[in-house]
Amino acid sequence: MRATKVRAAVDTAIGIANLRFAYPDGVQALRGVDLTIAAGEKVALLGPNGAGKTTLLLHLNGTLRGKGDIRIVGQTLRDGSLKHIRAQVGLVFENPDDQLFSPTVFDDVAFGPLYMGLPKEEVLARVRLALAQVGMVGFEERLPHHLSLGQKKRIAIATVLSMSPAILALDEPFSSLDPSACRELMRLLQALPQTMIVSTHHIPIIRHLFPRTVVMDGGRVVADGDTEAILADTDLLEAHGLDVP
């Protein structure tokens, strides 16, 4: 660990202490992760394949449950708080086909608010707002699996925005997107006010969007700090098999 910044605990969005997790087949995916993210921070999660990035993101809303301590907006993650925490953390999976399981775009974006038991007008308003935020108004009645990848990724983000989460956790949102879809998604993420933790390999995007970068490898956080400082550390990036800008 280097260049760790000390942050005030008062407005901590994500607090993770000594998180360890092994998959049922025995693969030790997380080997003691410590990470604190303040409210409103935008953090890039960088690391080679198999570093544990996806596993870590899946812990943020309790999809996976490892050993250790996770606090989300002041609430400790445990069985009783799971569903409350899921209202706080919008987790978007890498493959939008996994994220979108409903017959129409509207149904998918409305799923979260409907599940939370919100009244009809509120659900409609939230769906409208979420689709407007991702620039997909007018796609309500379309079938998700007939959209382009860039469109699917934006709808996938809308499905969690409609739940008005405090935190967005996005797993490789930029993978396989063409340059123009990338730029649109960047503009979208820049405009959103949520605390963000985003795993990606695109160095230019990291530079542009995220003031702070966390580097993972082998189930641990190996570096955490100012993005420019980390991207300037050629030895560090090379040691962990990452692109050197």
Binding site: D25, L64, A87, N95, F101, P103, D107, Y115, G117, H145
Partner: protein, 263 residues
């Protein structure tokens, strides 16, 4: 990145005598056993006991955890549901009457139900021993070697190959749904049962559509590599004398039980 293992293989790794036996013989013996169990006359309990004996020996020799075998054998339970009406529909000596309906159970009916249950349970346990001691791939090779039609073997092998893929896909869908199943303070969450059932129904539908689309892609990829409708397999290995002797003895024993049960 793969996330988790949705369900495990049927095969339980081991080095017992039963594990190392030729898969072709095991398959033949299991089929012969199921055949014998099915042919045993109704209510001939001694014959069923004689049939159960070699199965007990096989389970013991395979060193499979008994609890695992029993748990998996619960698969035979649905057969019981199908068999229960026989209790009331077969003519014979009355046992008791179910009052509000006026249905009368007969001794013959009871014997029929118990026989069906015993037959299906013995058959299921035989199949469990086979699948738990033989890797699926070996089983497929055995089917091929025993001249099971290629297209059937190919179908089973695709099923085996993609079962895990589809199960993982289903697991990811469920995971995405659970991720967005949130609760707000002071509000009842979850929606109505009908709404949730509808969501699940749509998920099943979309899983089917995706599997269907995947099958088209897989088929296109197979054609691109020269698939002409005839899957090809590598041939293999000789029969071992000792194993064949054991198998023949076993088949003779089962035939003997059948003869005894009839005359």
């Amino acid at each position: 990145m793969a996330i988790g293992v949705p369900f495990s293989e049927r095969y339980q790794a081991g080095s017992s005598l039963v594990h190392s036996m030729d898969a072709r013989l095991k398959l033949l013996l299991a089929l012969a056993y199921i055949f014998a169990a099915t042919l045993t006359p109704v209510g001939h309990w001694l014959a069923f006991g004689l049939l159960a004996a070699p199965l007990v020996v096989a389970v013991a020799a395979s060193r499979l955890p008994v609890l695992l075998v029993l748990r998996r054998s619960a698969l035979a339970l649905p057969f019981m549901v199908v068999a229960v009406p026989l209790l009331f529909t077969k003519d014979g000596d009355a046992l008791f009457t179910l009052q509000p309906f006026g249905w009368t159970a007969s001794e013959e009916g009871l014997a029929a139900v118990l026989t069906i249950l015993t037959k299906s349970w013995l058959s299921v346990v035989a199949a469990i021993v086979l699948t738990a001691t033989t890797p699926a791939l070996e089983l497929l090779r055995a089917m091929r070697a025993l001249a099971v039609p290629r297209i059937l073997v190919a179908t089973v092998s695709f099923m085996y190959r993609y079962l895990f893929v589809i199960a993982e896909e289903a697991q990811r869908l469920l995971r995405a749904r659970d991720s967005r199943s949130a609760r707000l303070e002071g509000r009842r969450c979850g929606g109505s049962v009908w709404w949730r059932a509808g969501v699940l129904g749509h998920m099943v539908g979309s899983l089917f559509l995706r599997s269907y689309e995947r099958s088209e892609r897989v088929y296109a990829a197979m054609q691109a590599r020269g698939y002409d409708g005839e899957p090809r397999f590598l041939q293999r290995s000789v029969w071992r004398l000792a194993e064949v002797v054991v198998a023949v003895a076993f088949v003779l024993y089962m035939a003997g039980v059948q003869v005894y049960a009839r005359y």
